[in-house]
């Protein structure tokens, strides 16, 4: 067992002490003594073991109970969380690769994937290989990348704005990207050249972010409230622009294209989309993960962060730019997939605590899991037709999040 941070002060009995909510602290209620934002168990279901969850929701039981102790060293928490999420992501990806109009056995999927390394596991036919490699895999990889981008950007925005309602769209990135895409679709500019639509959307997203930031610093004295309000105002303007275009578009087909795009989706994403979005999302996400420590301190306020050694005037624009970039790229390749950036960091915060060094990387993985899972549901639930993934993220994500929130209702007020 790795040494807990301060063994003398936090007498955790053993590694899995978190399974038991009580601590060696007489005369105080366990939840108060532990002082966690994480959930309390109602007395009726004090958990002795992992089993027997009355809700019967095993996924939830897994998520809420496999919670590493807060006093565990940072690396332990990160490794535990990342391990679970990576396994989960891999499993969902495998399932997603095998399901669809053409059923492909999981063994064949694995064989197709490992084949390039020279290991031959099973025989599969050419169609299966094509479907997996050229249709399903790029789509799933784009989904994972988009989920990573939204998760990381959401966690970063919530910390930068010290506001639990912040999400990747807070400074107008999403609506700006959407407005540019909608205008491109309506005017036909989206068909001008290869990847025109995502590039227009990306330009719109980044342009809007800079516009909002410029407005916020134009007042001479930068404040977070100004930035949020400028974002809200610009978003409202972009929203109105989108509505205007939708009303003005005469042709049904174009209108349908716009609405499809607005709901967010991953259909017919190709490797081109992966190459377009992948490097930018990985770079932007990497920057945010590298500066996660600074995010922690920035949450304490500018003066506190500055006096503890954070170069606030450099750090905040860098982090904002990175968050805006990854959000813009995600919007460009998938449309507006709602809710991911807002709830994924919140869910993980309930489980792993607020430390951004853990939260930001796990939000990347959690976002990927969430989007790939939502896309899998969107593809299969009314197969062979498809739902839009943006509908699923909200439709399933919202009730699930509310359920978590009510379970942990003691900590709703704080991040």
């Amino acid at each position: 067992m790795p040494p807990s941070a301060l063994p003398a002060m936090t007498p955790a009995k053993h590694r899995w002490g978190f399974l038991f909510q009580t601590r060696n602290r007489p005369n105080s209620r366990p939840d108060r003594a532990a002082g966690r934002r994480v959930h309390e168990f109602p007395d009726s279901e004090a958990p002795e073991t992992l089993g027997g969850d009355p809700s019967g929701n095993m996924a939830l039981a897994l998520v809420t109970r496999l919670r590493p102790p807060r006093e565990a060293a940072l690396g332990t928490r990160l490794a535990a969380g990342a391990g679970v999420l990576i396994v989960l992501l891999a499993a969902i990806m495998l399932v997603a690769l095998s399901t669809g109009p053409l059923d492909i056995p999981v063994t064949h999927v694995v064989a197709i994937i490992v084949e390039p390394t020279g290991i031959h596991l099973a025989d599969y036919d050419r169609t299966e290989e094509l479907v997996v490699k050229q249709i399903r895999l790029p789509r799933i990889v784009v989904g994972a990348l988009v989920g990573m981008a939204l998760g990381v950007a959401g966690a970063a925005m919530q910390a930068l704005f010290r506001n639990p309602l912040a999400d990747p769209g807070t400074i107008g990135v999403a609506s700006g990207g959407a407005a540019a895409a909608v205008v491109a679709i309506a005017t036909g500019a989206s068909t001008l050249f290869f990847l025109a639509l995502p590039l227009f959307a990306l330009a719109g997203a980044i342009g809007t972010a800079f516009l909002v930031y410029a407005i916020a610093i134009a007042s001479g004295r930068f404040s977070i409230a100004t930035l949020i309000l400028a974002g809200v105002a610009v978003s409202a303007f972009m929203g109105a622009l989108i509505s205007l275009v939708i009303i003005a578009v005469p042709e049904q087909g174009t209108l349908r294209g716009i609405l499809f795009w607005l709901a967010g989706g991953l259909d017919s994403r190709s490797w081109d989309h992966v190459w377009l979005s992948g490097p930018l999302i990985l770079i932007g996400g990497g920057v945010i993960i590298a500066f996660a420590r600074d995010l922690n301190l920035l949450m304490m306020g500018d003066d506190d962060a500055g006096s503890m050694g954070v170069h606030v005037r450099v750090m905040r624009p860098v982090l904002l730019t990175a968050a805006a970039l990854v959000t813009g790229v995600a919007v460009a390749v998938s449309g507006m997939i709602a809710f991911v950036g807002l709830i994924v960091p919140h869910m993980l915060r309930l489980i792993f605590g607020p430390d951004n060094r853990v939260l930001v990387p796990l939000s990347a993985l959690g976002g990927a899991v969430f989007v790939v899972l939502a896309d899998e549901i969107a593809r299969t639930v009314i197969s062979p037709a498809e739902l839009r993934v943006g509908i699923i993220t909200s439709f399933i994500g919202a009730p699930f999040f509310l359920f978590l929130l009510l379970r942990h209702n003691r900590r709703v007020t704080s991040l």
Binding site: A73, G75, R293, S307, G309, R349, G353, S414
Partner: protein, 428 residues
């Protein structure tokens, strides 16, 4: 916690610090020095620039002019990491901690000592543990800040500052949300750190606390240093009135030597009217104590007539520092006392007669009233009801020409300046 540099001389030297926002000068040529092992208190009214000065010292502001030197190095020239290892700042408003535990918050203080992506080392954990223990919040390490009381939270933020292992600790009104017990406890902790070689500058609202725990004080008002030096030299009634615009009674506890300050409520009709008006009270037997207190509080200069030993009014005069004519109880007013009384009566602007009863023993005090420039009455009782001299007191009373009479203290205090002012104009 600190690298106890046994050096005499100045650790912190702020010279001619000027800070302006939109042409408003928030700090105007401020000087401040602090030696190793010194706790400097910054006092002054709201808006005096205490917080601004602390932020300027901490390098969080771009000053317009002047220099802040820490052991000879200019703070503005240090990079943020170096600065954070040298100066720690505990802000006035404890930030919302967003679910962080005390331990996590304190560990943030190690930021300048840790590399990016580096996880905490043994030395970091040890420093943090020591910091938590120093400020007495070691047992709270695992609790989130929301579940802590104000005092405990303050302890956590000071521990975070200590985790930076600074040479200079800046505290901005660290005890303003604490009760008196935790205030004292807090300053004992800071005092302990300072005695161990730390240098600290603290903005402190409570003047008594500042006087008690600080080695030296700097009194700021409107961005300017009004006074600087030992607490007793800085916290004089004159300085306090100049900076805060209130009258204060400063006394030092005979047993402990601790400075005691009591602030008088500012007069309702503003300064300038009551101040400078000398009111002489002829009272006794407790008829004047309350009035005396209220007059002092409103800012009048108060004197009192002959008061016998053991008289409630005499005790009131003693505690308020009111000049009076001491006499032996039941012995009457001798010539010397009468002379002194006559002098006080002549010097006042207005003499006020209370409901005091007159016997042969104190009759002379009524006699002296004839010398007053003007007389006002604060009484309800007809003189005949309190005349125990067979009509002699009534006769003396009839000779007086009172300019006003009040039955309520509030209206008397409101009305006194006016009658003094009016008759002065007539004299002219």
């Amino acid at each position: 916690m600190t690298d106890t540099v046994e050096r005499t001389g100045r650790r912190l030297e702020a010279r001619d610090v000027v800070y302006e926002v939109d042409a408003a000068r928030l700090l105007d040529r401020v000087d401040l020095n602090a030696g190793v092992g010194e706790l400097i208190g910054l006092v002054g009214p709201n808006g005096a620039g205490k917080t601004t000065l602390l932020r300027a010292i901490g390098g969080l502001l771009k000053t317009r002019d002047g220099a802040v030197l820490l052991d000879g190095d200019e703070v503005r020239r240090m990079n943020t990491g170096e600065r954070a290892k040298s100066i720690a700042h505990v802000a006035q408003l404890a930030p919302l901690a967003h679910g962080f535990t005390a331990l996590e918050v304190v560990m943030m203080g190690r930021y300048p000592h840790m590399g990016r992506l580096q996880s905490e080392r043994r030395v970091d954990r040890e420093v943090v543990k020591r910091a938590l223990e120093t400020t007495g919040v070691g047992s709270l390490a695992g609790r989130t800040l929301e579940t802590l009381s104000g005092g405990e939270r303050q302890g956590v933020f000071v521990a975070r500052a200590l985790a930076q292992e600074p040479r200079l600790l800046l505290l901005d009104e660290p005890t303003s949300n604490l009760d008196i017990r935790h205030q004292a406890q807090f300053f004992h902790i800071v005092r302990g750190l300072v005695d161990g070689g730390m240098t600290a500058v603290a903005a402190i609202h409570d003047l008594s606390l500042a006087a008690r725990f600080c080695d030296r004080l700097t009194l700021l008002d409107k961005g300017v240093v009004v006074a600087e030096g030992a607490p007793g030299d800085v916290l004089t009634p004159e300085n306090i009135e100049a900076a805060f615009g209130v009258r204060a009674v400063v006394s030092s506890d005979p047993a402990s030597g601790i400075l005691n300050l009591s602030i008088m409520e500012p007069g309702s009709d503003g300064p300038g009217t009551a101040a400078g008006t000398r009111v002489h009270l002829v009272c006794g037997g407790g008829t004047g104590a309350r009035l005396m207190y209220r007059l002092c509080e409103a800012g009048f200069t108060v004197t009192a007539g002959p008061l016998g030993s053991g008289d409630t009014d005499r005790e009131a005069a003693e505690s308020l520092g009111v000049e009076y004519v001491p006499v032996q109880a039941f012995n009457g007013i001798d010539d010397a006392a009468h002379e002194k009384h006559m002098r006080l009566v002549r010097d006042c602007h207005v003499a006020v007669l209370t409901d005091v009863a007159f016997g042969t023993g104190n009759l002379r005090s009524l006699d002296a009233l004839a010398e007053a420039p003007r007389v006002a009455l604060a009484s309800l009782e007809p003189i005949t009801n309190r005349d125990f001299t067979g009509g002699r007191a009534t006769a003396l009373f009839e000779r007086l020409a009172p300019v006003a009479a009040w039955s309520e203290i509030d209206s008397l205090i409101a009305g006194l300046p006016a009658i003094v002012l009016n008759s002065q104009e007539i004299e002219r």
